[in-house]
Structure formats: C-alpha cells, structure tokens
C-alpha cells in the first residue's frame, strides 16, 4: 500500500472521485467468455484499466501424481503478473504477493466448483495480468469464474468479485490504483450471489465497526453488478442472447 498522503483530491465536494466516478459506481467492466483456442475454457476481462486473461485446463491427470486425491478433484490456481503490467518492470518470477493471491483466489473458487465429481483429477486455472491498475485480484477472480464456466465444469454458482474501500472518510465501491495508494482502506470481496456466500475477503486499512458493515454491504452490491456482466458474457457466447452474437456450443 505504501504512502498514504492525500496529495490529490480523492473525493471532491460534489462526491465525485478522482476518475470522475460516484462513490457507489464501478469502473467500466467488459467481460468476454472464450477467446483462447487451446484452453478448455477461457475469459478476458477489462476492469477499468486492468486487462486480464484467464485460461482453464481440465479436469485432467494430476502431475505430480502424489498431489492427486482419490476422493475429489483438486483445483490449482496461478495468478501471475507480466513484467510490463505495472509502472516499473516487475520481476517475472512469482512474488510472495502473487503466491498469496493465487491461494486466496483458489480458495474463493473452490466452494463454487463441483470438484468431487472428478476424483483423481486437477482443474488448472491460469490467470495472466497483462495490465494492472488496482483491484487485479477481484478482476482476476471474476474472469476465472467465467473461464471455468466456459470450460463446462459443473459449478454450484459463479464467483463475482469487486472491492469496497474508504477514501476521504467515505465508503466507496471499486477502489482504483490511486485510491488504493492514497486511500484509507481497501477490501476486496468475492461473492456467490445465488448461494449468498462470501468466498474472498481481505482488508487492509482502518474501518470503524459501522464502516466495516457498510463496506461489506456495498461490496456485495458491486459483486452483483459484476455477476450480471459475467452471465451476459456467457450468454453472448453460448446463446443468441440480446446482442445476438455467437452461437450455441461455438468454440471460440
């Protein structure tokens, strides 16, 4: 998170944020299901200036073999940022941050995926952050959910994700990079709307008990908006939906 000096105006007197949004507004979100030829399922998301691609392989044989579980399938997630995705070049080797994010995304997806149907197999989820601008883990989780659905893997629900936070003593939705750096709190959330379960939750920054409850509530509202876009992306690919693009069962 680093420095927290508010050198820029994060919230003006009319309640407008540094990028022109209202406090309860997300950035522009575009989700596309599919797009990769070789992956069993894939998705691409643009969440503000974040650009992330997710690919799914499996269920398939587990390598190394000792990782396999005779009772259930397992999920593996790799979240990775490209060296060119951030301001200063990032070392391409997986950082501790990326290892932690991979783990929390995996645990956020596990409740949704019916892995018990595929014992002794693995479902691999690869997430590549091509461009990062705050809130990558939420965008990555949202894209990974769509990619799993696109791979035809049975799921109980989709996981939609969005962050809530606090800038200038005000609770806001969808924290961007500037707000993350200079703001007071960032709370990424993942939510399964049908099962009404929070599956990803982290916080750094200080919130009063009242602000905390407000943050969780507004965060769920953001997840619901992302959820609608996830469903739209899948329906655009697999059904002749409102936008009439794509066809049933079409691979790309």
């Amino acid at each position: 998170m680093g420095g927290r000096e508010a050198t820029m105006v994060l919230l003006d007197e009319n309640g407008i944020r540094c990028d022109g949004r209202k406090v309860d507004e997300t950035r522009r979100v575009m989700i596309k299901a599919g797009g990769l030829k070789n992956a069993d399922g894939s998705a691409y998301i643009e969440f503000g200036d974040n650009k992330i691609v997710a690919g799914v392989f499996g269920p398939r044989d587990v390598h190394p073999k000792h990782m396999s579980d005779t009772d259930t399938g397992i999920l593996r997630v790799r979240y990775h940022m490209e060296p060119f995705s951030v301001g200063e070049r990032k070392n391409p080797a997986p950082s501790r941050r990326e290892i932690e994010i991979s783990k929390v995304i995996k645990e956020a997806l596990e409740p949704a995926v019916m892995l018990e149907m595929f014992p002794r197999t693995v479902v691999d989820v690869f997430i590549e952050v091509l461009q990062a601008d705050g809130g990558t883990r939420c965008a990555a989780l949202s894209a990974a959910s769509v990619a799993l659905a696109d791979a035809g893997i049975p799921m109980r629900d989709m996981v939609a994700a969005c962050a809530a936070g606090k800038v200038a003593d005000t609770v806001i939705l969808d924290v961007n990079n500037e707000e993350d750096q200079a703001g007071q709190a960032d709370m990424p959330m993942g939510y399964m709307p049908t099962l009404e379960k929070i599956t990803l939750l982290q916080l750094d920054g200080i919130l009063t008990p009242e602000e905390y409850e407000k943050c969780v509530e507004i965060g769920i509202k953001g997840c619901m908006q992302v959820y609608e876009l996830q469903k739209k992306a899948l329906s655009e690919k697999y059904f002749d939906g409102e936008n009439g693009k794509g066809g049933r069962g079409q691979k790309r």
Binding site: M1, G2, G3, R96, R97, I99, E100, S102, K103, V104, E107, A108, E110, P111, M187, Y191, M192, L195, E196, K197, I198, T199, L200, L201, Q202, L203, D204, G205, I206, L207, T208, P209, Y212, E213, V216, E217, I220
Partner: protein, 273 residues
Amino acid sequence: MSEIIDSLKRARIEELLEQGKRLDGRAFDEFREISIETGAIPKANGSARVRIGDTEVVCGVKIQPDRPFPDSGDKGIFICTAEMLPLSHSSVETGPPGPHVIELARVVDRGIRESHMIDVSQLVIKENKSVVGVFADNVVVDYDGNLFDACSFAATAALLSTKSPKWEFKDDAPALVEGSEADLPVGTIPVSVTMGKIGQHVLVDPNADEWQCMDARVTITTNSDGNICAMQKGGHDGFTLEQIKECGKTSARIGAEIRKKFDGISAGSDTEQ
C-alpha cells in the same frame, strides 16, 4: 489410515458442535490459555515467547540501520516474517516456504502494519539516505493450530518489549549513539482474532483438530480504538453476510479482552503473563 481417523474425528467434532460443545470443552468464543513471556532472547532488541494451548511461537526483533525504499525516503522500514520450523510438526519440510506459510507471514505482517502500531515516520536517521529497520521474525516451535494469532501476539509483544538503539548521521553514514536506547514509537496495539467455520458453527481460536477439519476461516485484526484494520478469509468455503458481520463484532470484543494481556509489557521489562 490417518484419513479414517480424520473423518471420524470430524464427525465427533460436528456432533459435539450440534450440542454446543467443543472437543476440548471450550465455549465457541473462548480462546485457549494464552501465555506471553517477553525478554526471552536477550541478544535480540526485543523478544517474546507466546503459547496458545500447545502452539508455541518465538519472535525476535532486530533493529539495524538500513537504506529506505526508493519511494518512501521519509519512512523507516518495518518487516514481519513467519516461518514454520521442521521440529514443529511432522509435515513440515525444510526448503522454501509453501503458499500457506507465505500467507501466514503476509497476514501477520499486514495486521501489524495496517494498524500503524509502529510509526515508521519516526524511524528516519537521514531522509532519503538512512532509516531504522525493524525486523520482527517469528518462528513456530510447536504446532497446535491458529498460528495467525500466535505469531501476531508474539510479534506485538516482542515489539512492545523492544529497546531500540539510536543512530545519528555522520560522515555520510549512520553512527551508533552509545548508551542511548529508546522505546519504539508505538501508536496502537493490534490484536488478531482468528475464527474457523465448521458446518454452520463459527469457533474462535481453532486448535489443530478443528483447524484440520474446518471449512473456512477468517482472521480479523482490531486496533486499540476497536476499529478493524486488517482481514483475511481463507479455506474452501464461504461466509454469509450475517456470519461475517458477527465475526467483525466478535473480533472487537475478544480482541479487547486479549489486549489487556499486553498492558504490562514495556521495553526492558522481562515479564510473564
């Protein structure tokens, strides 16, 4: 073999939870006995040995001058780590840490960092050139669940017990000021409270058995004002909105009780509470 025992144990734990009981007789919102001993490692600038039940963690604080990070030349450095020693459990192997140990270290660091317990702006020897680095390293000596809170308490107690040397900037380098020691600039006392979910039951301070069979967990750190400053959810299941709100309240309430245990700890005093 062990798998069968695990599922039997889980069945027993669940059966007891339905009756409102835990395997070791605790209430759902009750911690195991917490013991905090400070000054255990005199070679360190500050140290603590913390036990929660049979979980044992030792934390040592080392203080040394360092170069500031390029983007924050007006701030000192605070780094908190955590490591599981091979003698702490049969499943621990030597070598680079796995994802769950990396998560442990990062969550413990985040809780203390985000609470602003240590005011790093007061740890500057010469702006942009030399700052004080505070390193709190936790080692897990024995494992019985809930390492998040054990490491967090150990680091907090060790930092409170720390006597920091002083440096002045002379001839383009930091020079130690002999015989001049001070407390660290401490602003608040963070307390982390970890709760595990088994079925629909939420338990404070899961022990190793509960840890092994829980579906999800959340660690919430509160500061001295009772505000929440860091969170981490883990595990293969989720929480409902109501559960997560309740966890927020529980962490503030239990955290306030535990915070009293840190009251008597100050630099140089070797205490056991």
